[in-house]
Each structure stands twice: as C-alpha cells, then as structure tokens.
Amino acid sequence: MAHAHKLEIFRGLLKFKSNTQKIWGVLVFLTIVTAVEVALGIIKPHSLTHSHFLGMKLLNWIFITLTLVKAYYIAWDFMHLRDEKSALRRAIVWTPIFLVLYLVFILLFEADYIYNVFKDGFVKWNF
C-alpha cells in the first residue's frame, strides 16, 4: 500500500500541500477540460472542422487528445498509479495501449477499404 503520496502534478509545476488538496485540484482540472470539450462540441469552430490531419477533422483530434489527458489524470491521481512502482505502472498502461493501437489500426484501415468498396464498387446500398 502506497502511503506516501506524490503531491506534484504537471511535472512539478503545481505542488499540493496534502493528498486531499491534490484530489480537489485534479477535479478542478478535469472539470475545466470537460467544459472545454463540451464548449468546442457545441460551437464547432469552422477552422477546426474544415482542416484535416491524417484523414480526420482537427476538432476530433483535439477531442481525442483531451480524452487521453483526462484518462491520464484519472489513472495517475485517482487510481494512485503515480504512487505505484514504475514496473507495475508500465505493465498496466503499456499492455492495453499497445494492443488497442494495433486493433484500432487494423479495424479502421479495413473499414476504410470497405467504405471504398461501397462507394466505387458495383454495390448499391444507399437507396
């Protein structure tokens, strides 16, 4: 059991006095990130929805990045991964990341291929 808590977040930029304070600090941060996501989702700025990166809208990349940021702080501070041994942390984090990247790459590539078959092939489905 990790009784000694590391009280720094943002790579030591912000240091809290107690664990309780850190929890509230992380809550404030997560709330701000969620609010930014929702605001972007409602406004949908034209510049972000019309520029693409790797075949996906810039806005969607922003959403995914912010999600990963949120996931990081939930896992690191709420699930105490920050206080665990680095070996345990790596075993927990990198296993799913590796497998998920692999799966997502394969499935999305395949889906894009099927999309093209539906679009250019001799299949009529949208009627």
Binding site: M1, A2, H3, N19, T20, I23, W24, V26, L27, L30, T31, T34, A35, E37, V38, G41, I42, K44, T49, K57, N60, F63, I64, L66, T67, K70, A71, I74, A75, D77, F78, M79, H80, E84, K85, S86, A87, L88, I92, T95, P96, L99, V100, L103, V104, L107, L108, E110, A111, D112, I114, Y115, F118, K124, W125, N126, F127
Partner: protein, 324 residues
C-alpha cells in the same frame, strides 16, 4: 527512484513473501481484471469505429440525436451528457477521498464519502435509464426506405425538424392494432406506428413546406436536405414508418448506431450498476467496523479502483459517442 525488485536480504528471495511490485495480492488481481476489462471495452469501441468508418458519410450526428434534457423542452444537445460526466467524475472524487480517509483510519469520513459515492452512482444510472427511454421513444419519427435507409423531414422555411404529426394526413382505414381480445390468444402485435406510409406520403404531397433530409453528410458536416422535387421522388421508395429506435429499426439513422449505443452504454451502465452494488456492500462493512478490526481499509481502495475504472471508461464512451 522506483526500483523493480525490493528484496532487503538475499536469503529471502526464494523464501516467499516477496512483493516485487509493492502491491498486495488483492490489489494486483483487481488491476489484472481492470486491464482485461479495459481490453473488452476497447474491443467494443474499436468495432464502433469500424462500423462508423465503414459508413462515414451516412453516420448519425450525435448532436441531432441526444438533444433532450429532463424537465426542459427544446433543443439542448450535449448538456445532459456533460452533466452525467460531471456527476461520475464527482463520485470518483468522493471515492478517492474515502480511500484517503481510509488510509488515515477515519471511519466516519469513509462512511460519508462512500455514501456520497453511492448517491452519485445512482444518479448516473438513473440518468442513463432516462437517456435510453428517450432514445427508444424517439421524437420526430421518420420513414424507412426499401433499402433500409432513413428519411427524416424538415420544414423548408425554418430548417427545423418536422414531426410526422405536423404534416401527415389522417386517412380513415380499417387497420387497427391487433389486440389479444380480437384474435386467437397468441396473436397480438406489440406496436403499430401512429401513421401509415400512405398517410405520410399524402401529407408530404399536400404540404409544400416539408422537405426530406437524407442520411448523407455533406462537406460542412450537415445532413443533406433534398429540394421539393427530389423529396417527392424520394418518398416513392418509402417502405415503412419508424418511430423511436430499437435493435432493428432506428429513426435517427443507421441502425448500427442504435445497436452500438445499446450495447456499449448498456455494458457500461451494467458496470456502474454492479459498482454501486459492490460499493453498498463495502459501505455496510465499513459501518459494521470490519476494516477497523482488520486494521486497514484496503478493501475500500480496491473497490475504489473499480469505481475509477468505470469513470475512466465513461470518459472514452463520452468522447466517441457524443463528441467525435
């Protein structure tokens, strides 16, 4: 700083009782479970991505599907889901505060924080049930074509959605819902749409203000609205009226969207539900003083891990179902 192996004396290495990862058996097993569960959810979300990329040009837009807030009328996309997300994050915070109080052996504080966590979880599950009910009931109604595509209706002057009730004609007909009292005992039908295809067709012909909106998404990320002539041509393909959504028909667009919605949020909701049940069990154990006698509150920490995981999954579901 963090070394991998923590053996103090070399003699102990083979004697057992080592904790190379400095975590107890129970906690490690919880982490194993969470990693495998994370892979299950990833599989669901990845297959959602697969179906979505397959039908990238016709996929429903979440903003136009989830537009309701309880007790309010009108079009409020996203606000309610954002509220649900906040509730879940908040209950995660009270959970982590309970774990923190457990480390300090403060029983009363653990009880209160666990209680608040359970309330938060209950609010979330209730909200999800409401979200399901709204989704299943549907709001405007639509027409399904022979090819299984969905045609929705908009008002030409304002661009707002038009409900079937706004324009469909009422044509008297003999067809009524088959009730058990009218047929043989095993014959009854669960549901009959409020309008027939013919009534919608006639309504569209009579009302020049109504246009058809197809599933196709244009470059601006909006659904394509047909002009009057195209609408009248398109309505000939109509095969049935769809109100609401289930696993087979979906008035919001692609039926796969509804399937994945039920499956993924349902699986997540089941996790939240079981999390609440486990939390309640631990809550009573804390009240009875089980962990006070045991000398540590590690059990609270373990259910805490599960609870945070549920929150973590929701963060991803929220992004991929409602935002992206």
């Amino acid at each position: 700083m963090d070394s991998t192996v923590t053996t103090t004396t070399e003699e102990k290495v083979w004697g057992g009782g080592n904790r190379p990862l400095n975590a107890s058996y129970g906690k490690l097993m919880m982490w194993f479970f969470l990693v495998s569960d994370a892979l299950t959810f990833s599989g669901f979300l990845a297959s959602y991505g697969f179906s979505r990329f397959k039908f990238i040009e016709t996929w429903p837009i979440a903003d136009q599907v989830f537009t309701h807030v309880p007790f309010f009328h009108g079009n409020y996309p996203m606000y309610y889901v954002a509220f649900m997300t906040f509730i879940l994050i908040m209950s995660s915070v009270t959970m982590v505060l309970a774990v923190d109080a457990g480390h300090r052996m403060q029983k009363t504080k653990v009880i209160w924080y666990m209680f608040l966590t359970i309330i938060g979880g209950a609010i979330f599950v209730g909200s999800q049930a409401w979200e399901w009910a709204t989704f299943i009931k549907g709001d405007y109604g639509a027409i399904e074509t022979k090819g299984g595509r969905i045609l929705q209706f908009v008002k030409a002057d304002t661009g707002e959605r038009a409900a079937l009730a706004d324009f469909a004609k009422t044509i008297p007909s003999e067809r009524t819902e088959l009730d058990r009292k009218d047929g043989v005992w095993f014959m009854s039908e669960g549901y009959m749409p409020s309008y027939t295809v013919n009534e919608v067709k006639e309504g569209l012909l009579a009302n020049p203000n109504i246009l058809i909106r197809t599933e196709t998404i244009n470059e601006d990320g909006e659904k394509v609205v047909l002009n009057r002539e195209e609408s009248l041509k398109k309505i000939r393909d109509a095969s049935q009226v769809v109100e609401g959504a289930n696993l087979i028909h979906n008035e919001y667009g692609s039926r796969l969207f509804a399937d994945f919605f039920f499956f993924i949020t349902g699986f997540h909701g089941f996790h939240v539900f079981s999390g609440v049940v486990i939390n309640i069990i631990i809550f009573f154990n804390v009240i009875l003083g089980t962990y006070e006698r045991r000398g540590h509150y590690e059990m609270v920490e373990k259910v805490g891990l599960y609870w945070h995981f549920v929150d973590l999954v929701w963060v991803f579901v929220f992004t991929f179902f409602y935002l992206v």
